[in-house]
């Protein structure tokens, strides 16, 4: 009896000890040692050479970035870990989390609860610059990059990579089975391939429509072909009401989008997340995916033996236009953090570390990125990535941007992008009339321009 009582009393105590010791273990492993002089694995890290300008005392800063793409998430968190090992006196608190919300929603919510990150991956630079949440990039960092686009004459961003083009990532086996021997030279040839794939019994295209940013790949493909390739200033003209969403070129773009999605896209596209698309492709449930080179790693990890190719999708005349111009996005320093010189020094050190040749090439290899640095960075690229780089280098390929990535006078109301993508989902699921939906887009655009003007 007494033995039982002792056991009963001891059990919670043992459990508590285990929990506490587990916490202790985490603390030891997870956070950097406060003593800069203590032995740490830093010396084993290739990029581990704390610069002389790094603050010697213990500094903590917070960081936030978009986690929608698993490869990018993995690459950034690996860089953070490497940095923490190399700089034991600098602690980084990672605020990033996987959510179903868009990145802008997430960042805005973080701001509302007083957790705006000290170092933040900025995509809507103008919104946060206008509201005084971020400050200009320290001048010593600007020189690291080949080109830093400006917002109202100021440089706010350390671009993680240059904008990479979306293209068709296709299963070679599925193409072979459907009798596709040649890649399409026009959009009509591409549609003919879709018909062949469908007849062969495979779903032609998988789309991660649950994630709003993935919707953007397709919508912008058509908008670039029909609108931005010939008129890069279309957005500013729309703001000035000189052009309309109901114009023939926009209606044509969205009609092409609607027809493609109605006929050739996987039925479950609206509940498929971007990070499920690689599995659907490699499992043979779908033959193609329209996305960027950051997907290559995911696809290879999902099935190393999966054979796939990549090509840029031409328009009806056979011209190729892709996303590829620089845009104001990348790491930005928060206004709050800029008031603390120690934090600024630590963040500057992190950015230098992030873009240092050895570390940055690893990052680029994981995300299959195109370097944004002034220094030439090379890394071992895959066959598909070589195709991407060849497309980027081709002078006949027009470079453009997505609807929301233009800046200056061509900046659209920041809230318009998500609304418009959702409207386009609605267009397909309700089999709506494109011209009618474009009227709604015009109305919303004007309402948002008016609302923003009242700020």
């Amino acid at each position: 009896m007494s033995k039982k009582r002792i056991l009963q009393a001891a059990a919670p105590a043992v459990a508590l000890t285990l929990i506490l010791s587990a916490c202790g273990g985490n603390n030891n492993n997870g956070s950097a040692s406060p003593s800069a002089g203590s032995s740490s694995p830093a010396s084993s890290s290739p990029a581990a050479s704390p610069s002389a300008s790094a603050p010697a005392k213990e500094v903590t800063f917070t960081i936030g970035y978009a986690t929608g793409d698993p490869a990018t998430k993995q690459a950034i968190s690996q860089t953070i870990e490497a940095f923490k090992q190399a700089h034991p006196n600098i602690k980084i608190k990672d605020y990033s989390e996987t959510t179903s919300a868009s990145y802008l929603d997430w960042l805005k919510t973080k701001d509302a609860v007083g957790e705006f990150p000290d170092l933040v991956e900025m995509r809507d630079t103008k919104v946060f610059a206008d509201s005084g949440k971020i400050v200009e990039l320290p001048s010593e960092l600007v020189g690291l990059f080949s080109n830093v686009p400006e917002v109202d004459g100021k440089k706010y961003n350390a671009p993680l990579t240059l904008n990479a083009p979306q293209g068709i990532i296709y299963s070679k086996k599925a193409y072979e089975k459907a009798g596709v021997t040649e890649l399409p030279k026009t959009y009509d040839e591409f549609l003919a391939i879709q018909e062949k794939l469908k007849t062969s019994g495979i779903t032609p295209i998988v789309v991660g429509g649950k994630d709003i940013f993935h919707m953007g790949f397709w919508l912008n493909k058509f908008l670039i072909d029909e609108v931005y390739a010939s008129d890069p200033d279309w957005n500013s003209k729309r703001t000035a009401k000189q052009v309309s969403f109901t114009d023939a070129n926009v209606v044509q773009a969205m009609t092409d989008y609607k027809e493609l999605f109605t006929n050739y896209v996987d039925k479950g596209w609206l509940s498929t997340a971007d990070n499920q698309t690689a599995s659907i492709l490699v499992s043979g449930k779908a033959a193609q995916l329209f996305s960027g080179p950051w997907m290559f790693t995911q696809i290879q990890q999902a099935d190393p033996s999966f054979e796939f190719g990549y090509y840029a999708l031409p328009d009806r005349e056979g011209n190729v236009s892709i996303v590829g111009l620089p845009s104001p996005a990348g790491w930005s320093l928060s206004a709050d953090a800029s008031k603390d010189p120690d934090k600024v020094a630590a963040i500057t050190e992190f950015i230098k570390f992030f873009f240092a040749k050895e570390q940055y090439s690893k990052y680029l290899q994981t995300v299959n990125g195109i370097p944004s640095t002034a220094e030439n960075i090379t890394y071992e690229s895959t066959e598909q990535m070589k195709d991407v780089l060849a497309i980027m280098a081709d002078p006949n390929v027009k470079k453009s941007l997505m609807i929301n990535n233009w800046w200056g006078d061509n900046q659209i109301p920041p809230q318009f992008r998500n609304w418009y993508y959702k409207l386009m989902q609605d267009l397909v699921v309700k089999n709506g009339d494109v011209a009618e939906y474009m009227k709604k887009a015009d109305e919303e655009y004007d309402t948002e321009v008016k609302a923003n003007a009242q700020q």
Binding site: S100, A101, S102, L104, D105, K108, T109, D111, A112, V127, F128, D130, S131, G132, K133, G209, K210, I212, D266, K267, G268, W269, L270, S271, T272, Q276, S279, I280, K285, P414, Q415, N418, W419, K422, L423, Q425, D426, L427, V429, K430, T447, E448, A451, N452, Q454, Q455
Partner: protein, 303 residues
């Protein structure tokens, strides 16, 4: 001399304050700080075009309310809120009464059944949303996989992506989560029904259905008032499931008033407009609750 005068005035003043007021003061202060002040500032913000980020706040009169009145998107969200609320209040109460009666009559493992049906209530809306999103996924979800396995692949449905099924899927998964909560309220109500009434009815030859229809159900009216009001308020405020399972989609199909308040306020940087909608939602809940309580109170029977 002056000090003594002041002291006596102070003690006279404090003497008049009832200890109740003194004990209430901390609560009043906190309530004012965290509820009353935000409520009044929200009322003000609903007349502004504030984006939620900048320091500048501009007064724009009734513009936000005019836009709410004219917006198709808000009308759709209102319609969805009404459908969800009506369906959930009815279904949750029917399911809860059925579960309560069954659990009350079961002879063995009574506590096990109570726990099993109550268990989903303990899961947060977010977790429940993720679980059901996985179950209902078009390509990898259990339901569609089962349809494939039994040779009914053509019956596969994009449960959360098809506008005809998205709202129904949210209603059924919320029903699964919430019914257990109201079951407990009805169980408590059932315990309060005197056995002699049912025994007397039984002797008089009333069947099980008649006993339920004529005795149990009328005497559960008090529980029903509570359950209906709680269920209605929680349905009007439904948010987690929508956020996780559909993000208001496909398109704007499953947006509700609470969700649109969040989307507009945070995602679309229109805090002023979002706050105006929150005020409308507040009034709506107030009006419906008052009507519902008045109607249901009439049904209650005093034992």
């Amino acid at each position: 001399m002056n000090d003594t005068k002041n002291q006596s005035a102070w003690s006279r003043w404090t003497g008049r304050i009832s200890p109740t007021v003194v004990f209430l003061l901390p609560a009043i202060a906190l309530y004012t700080l965290f509820v009353v002040t935000p409520t009044f500032s929200s009322a003000y913000l609903s007349f502004t075009s504030w984006d939620g980020v900048s320091d500048k706040i501009h007064f724009i009169g009734f513009d936000n309310f005019t836009e709410i009145w004219n917006s198709d998107r808000v009308h759709n969200a209102l319609k969805n809120t009404m459908i969800l609320t009506f369906a959930l209040v009815v279904l949750e109460n029917i399911a809860a009464i059925a579960l309560a009666v069954l659990v009350d009559q079961v002879r063995w493992a009574r506590n096990l059944f109570r726990s099993v049906f109550y268990f989903p209530v303990l899961i947060s809306g977010i977790v429940m949303g993720f679980v059901w999103t996985i179950i209902l996924n078009y390509n990898f979800g259990v339901i569609n996989r089962m349809l494939e396995l039994i040779g009914l692949a053509s019956w596969k449905i994009d449960w959360l992506g098809n506008p005809d099924f998205a709202l129904i899927s949210i209603i059924l998964s919320t029903l699964w989560k919430q019914a257990g909560y109201y079951m407990i309220i009805y169980l408590a109500g059932l315990q309060g029904i005197p056995q002699d009434l049912t025994e007397a009815a039984s002797i008089d030859g009333a069947g099980k259905w008649q006993q339920f229809r004529r005795i149990t159900f009328p005497l559960l009216a008090g529980s029903m008032t509570v359950s209906s009001v709680l269920s209605m308020i929680s349905s009007l405020k439904i948010f987690d499931q929508i956020a996780v399972m559909t993000d208001g989609g496909p398109g704007f199909e499953t947006e509700t008033l609470t969700y649109i308040v969040y989307k507009v306020g945070f995602g679309e940087l229109r805090q002023g407009f979002g706050t105006a909608m929150a005020m409308v939602l507040f009034l709506l809940i107030l009006i419906i609750t008052v009507i519902q309580v008045k109607v249901l109170r009439r049904r209650e029977v005093q034992l």
